[in-house]
């Protein structure tokens, strides 16, 4: 995979109401949506989930083709799972191709699983499409802050995640450079069995480690020089606050969750 093909963070800039929601609302919303996908036990439930996610996508202004593009990497899994479910599930036969039989139950299960998988991908990719990675880690920090009671250092964890995120593109670039340099020196990353190939990556990883730990040392020194003292008493440039639209979004979420439960237990 070429480095340019990696859409880091996949953030789709915008000013929509979904973009402007508090990251905590978005994380919570994604979590509830993903949970509901596993509560659904009939197609009517998926229709509701699809309508809900379609509504959120429309509000977010993220182009549909952008969302569909997110399915591309997992297309193989969807096709593989559909084909296997079609032929492996036992039940009432519909069509027969030699030893292979497609059953009524197989068609139902294949469609059910493919739909769930697609909605799963739509739901989780939408979160990163409408939330900047840094905002996302800020949201995670605030959501984890009650865990400070059990001595979980939420600030340090979020800070670490932010730094990690910042360095991914730098190290991607560095890895690519070292890979090319070592290939030019005769390193072989592509032949032999899997064990040999894995071992062949040592000439890549060793210089990468040296470079990465040098970066870490420099950054730690810079932070110390700027009197970094951890999370206590630290203020933010952009504060986080629940607004009316967050309350509205949470109400819609509760209604959606209740409707899913209703369809699961009582719906026809």
């Amino acid at each position: 995979m070429a480095i340019k093909d990696i859409t880091l963070g996949q953030y789709f800039p915008g000013e929509s109401i979904v973009h402007r929601l508090d990251p905590r609302t978005k994380i919570l919303g994604t979590f509830v949506f993903l949970v509901t996908l596993f509560l659904v036990n009939r197609f009517a439930g998926f229709a509701l989930s699809a309508a809900f996610i379609a509504g959120v996508i429309a509000l977010s202004g993220v182009p549909v083709k952008f969302m569909i593009r997110g399915l591309r990497p997992i297309l193989f899994l969807i096709v593989f799972s559909t084909i296997l479910n079609l032929f492996v599930t036992a039940g009432t036969p519909i069509v027969q191709f030699g030893p292979l039989t497609i059953t009524e139950e197989g068609v139902y299960r294949a469609a059910f699983m493919a739909l769930r998988l697609m909605l799963l991908i739509f739901g989780s990719s939408l979160l990163t499409l409408v939330t900047k990675p840094i905002t996302l880690t800020d949201g995670i920090e605030r959501l984890m802050s009650p865990l400070n009671i059990v001595k979980l250092p939420s600030h340090e964890l979020a800070m670490m995640m932010t730094i990690a995120l910042r360095f991914i593109p730098t190290l991607l670039d560095e890895t690519d450079k070292i890979m090319k340099a070592q290939t030019a020196r005769g390193a072989d990353f592509e032949s032999g069995n899997l064990f040999r190939r894995a071992k062949g990556l040592i000439p890549l990883l060793v210089p990468l480690f040296v470079s990465a730990f040098r970066i870490a040392g420099d950054l730690a020194m810079a932070m110390e020089a700027r009197c970094y003292r951890g999370g206590k008493g630290r203020t933010r440039m952009n504060g986080m606050a629940f607004s009316g639209r967050d309350a509205g979004a949470l109400c819609v979420l509760v209604a959606y969750f209740a409707a899913t439960i209703y369809l699961r237990t009582m719906g026809g």
Binding site: M1, I3, I6, T7, L8, Q10, F31, L34, F38, P73, I74, F76, L77, F80, S81, L84, V88, M113, R116, L117, L120, I121, G123, S124, S125, L127, E156, L157, M160, M161, T162, I163, A164, L165, R166, F167, I168, L171, L172, T175, M179, L194, F195, R196, R197, A198, I202, L205, L208, F209, V210, A212, F213, R214, A216, L219, A220, E224, Y228, G230
Partner: protein
């Protein structure tokens, strides 16, 4: 002094996380799916040398999976599996050859279960676990052990 150690620990963890995510993304699609060989899992041997690797690998796995095809569920469950594996490897750090086994086992069981249950991979649960375990075995022992041997001899130079 305490603050310096804290910043150093945090930055080291962050850089390990970035390394994990960068290698995973660069070697995709081999890094995702049932028949995956996630080369970056070899980095788990770092937890034999520094506990900073535990949160670092967790964060790295979180981002790599979040940016991968599996999305949020893969990110949440995958990083839990990696953290558990890294803790096990850290605890077993004195048993050189056995230590990475904790990561192999944790990922095989948790990621295998996740692929079976959440992603509906149409293979029996045990097969899902075995496939993931095999990929982990290749990464952790094919690359991880030679890497750990190198790190053991050059620990001071690298700053671990």
């Amino acid at each position: 002094m305490k603050e310096k150690v804290k910043a150093q620990y945090m930055v080291q963890a962050a850089v390990i996380g970035s390394l994990y995510a960068a290698i995973t993304l660069l070697l995709a699609p081999l890094s995702y799916g049932v028949m995956q060989v996630r080369v970056s899992e070899a980095l788990v041997v770092l937890s034999m040398f520094t506990p900073a690797a535990i949160p670092g690998l967790g964060a790295g796995c979180f981002f790599a999976n979040l940016l991968g095809p599996g999305g949020f569920i893969d990110a949440a469950i995958g990083s839990i599996a990696t953290v558990i594996g890294a803790i096990g490897t850290y605890r077993l750090r004195n048993a050189f050859y056995a230590a990475p086994m904790a990561t192999v086992a944790s990922n095989a069981v948790i990621v295998g279960w996740m692929l079976y249950y959440f992603y509906a991979v149409p293979l029996p649960l045990v097969s899902c676990m075995l496939w993931v375990g095999l990929g982990e075995l290749i990464a952790c022992y094919g690359l991880g052990i030679p890497l750990a041997r190198f790190l053991q001899s050059r620990r001071g130079d690298i700053g671990l």
